[in-house]
Symmetry: C2
Subunit: 275 residues, 2 copies
């Protein structure tokens, strides 16, 4: 664990991450010492920090990450948090914040690769996602919705589907979601809620470059129940086909579809980034 | 600063407050060594922790507060944060969390008493409040909306008015809001957004006991511009009459009205709690 480049396992109580969740974060996959989609992660972090008016030095973050990776070979997950640091008067931030960089390394859960192959069970969560067009898409540190939705997952379900107050499907608790129906791919529009995931971005880009149409639109949850194929995606596990959807006491079984398999293959070839 | 009863100025990096804002808080006024509205604050904290499924021991919190107050005589502000502590797998909390209690004392800003007398300037903030019926009313640690709205306050404005995406007036950045028009008091309904403040609760109770009708309802922001009287309230500063409202380049001047003055007097007599 590095805080502003120094090994440290605690944070000053005055840090605004503790009081307000005043910051943003990224979770980056390290695959055989490569930082997968590094520049995309840094670009998204920059967009969040620009919006929050938190000064960001991505070069220092990269130095921190490289320094941390010296100790852990192979594959892992790197979590990068950038907070506004200490100070200010209550909610009002200091005029010239001194941000805090927190970089931690985590073990890749051993089950993830297997789940990509055999598929996962997802449940519809009751806790709704918050709606706010100004924050939509951003990976900020206000994540109580995801915590509350995660608490609804039964032990044998790997992910939960979250909807907004109008019953529109938005995302998973830790991933984005795609559906396919009658040969057409679709994924929820994230204009009022949700995190615009890097894996989602890569899939959308790949589809666009390969003349595969994806409808990015409002998706009522009922369409998930009627889908031929559902898959979840994030930067760490890639693509998880959904083989079971639980919703209000009923269980829907799904087959692993051609889109999930095709995109899994494409993503493996498409993943390279920072050597 | 006390963390779980021990003097400490830092928090373990693993604490879920840092990663997710996974917790709740209270800000309590200490007036001449009395904890004003203590039981109400503890009741609200209990409701939040029950909802979040964070075990809460209010007796330990009171011991922490008493211990901290031994060192600081007179009047101050006590901030109490309760987090879910460390652990869990990502967003998913541990089954048996060991919560963290954080208690800090702060100086009461010297200008507050004077502002209660001569009134404040408020500006309409552009940043919208997030909407989520499940979280509405709760004083949780996800406070990015309030941070972002606070950043819009000009130096000569003491508070900002926040609206939801539909332009309904919700609250101040650190307070609740009441309006009066043609002799009738009103305050926004907080069923989808906002913090249900203790001072707001006390005012509503006082009005109800004294046959003073208050409309708790949806209030389009335009009604604020047309109000005869506006005042802000919170547990720390009590009641601030609004004498200037800035909105989209225009400045509206207001007189300090009879409701603000009457309720200020009533609250002074009504405040006592924990000796």
């Amino acid at each position: 664990m590095l805080v502003n480049g120094h090994p440290q396992d605690s944070l000053p109580l005055a840090d605004r991450a503790i009081h307000y969740g005043d910051g943003a974060f990224e979770t980056v996959l390290v695959s055989e010492s490569r930082l997968v989609h590094w520049s995309r992660h840094m670009a998204r972090l920059k967009r969040a920090c620009d919006f929050l008016k938190i000064p960001l030095n991505t070069q220092l973050i990269e130095l921190d990450v490289r320094s941390l990776l010296k100790q852990s070979q192979g594959s892992c997950i790197i979590k990068i948090m950038v907070t506004r640091g200490a100070g200010g008067r209550g909610y009002m931030p200091p005029e010239h914040p001194l941000p805090t960089r927190i970089v931690t390394a985590h073990t890749l859960p051993s089950a993830y690769a297997d789940l990509s192959q055999r598929g996962v069970c997802v449940v519809r969560c009751k806790h709704p996602v918050s709606e706010n067009a100004a924050l939509a898409g951003m990976k900020h540190l206000n994540r109580l919705d995801q915590v509350l939705a995660s608490m609804e997952l039964p032990v044998d379900c790997q992910e939960g589907l979250m909807c907004n107050s109008r019953g529109l499907l938005i995302e998973g608790t830790k991933s984005n979601v795609f559906l396919a129906r009658s040969g057409t791919l679709m994924t929820p529009l994230l204009d009022r809620s949700g995190v615009a995931g890097i894996q989602r971005e890569v899939i959308l880009e790949y589809c666009s470059q390969n003349q595969l149409q994806v409808a990015v639109r409002e998706i009522p949850f009922a369409e998930a129940v009627e889908a031929d194929e559902i898959f979840m995606c994030n930067s760490v596990f890639g693509i998880w086909p959904v083989t079971e959807l639980r919703c209000e006491g009923t269980v829907h079984h799904l087959s692993i579809g051609p889109f999930a398999r095709m995109l899994q293959n494409a993503m493996t070839e498409h993943a390279p980034d920072h050597g």
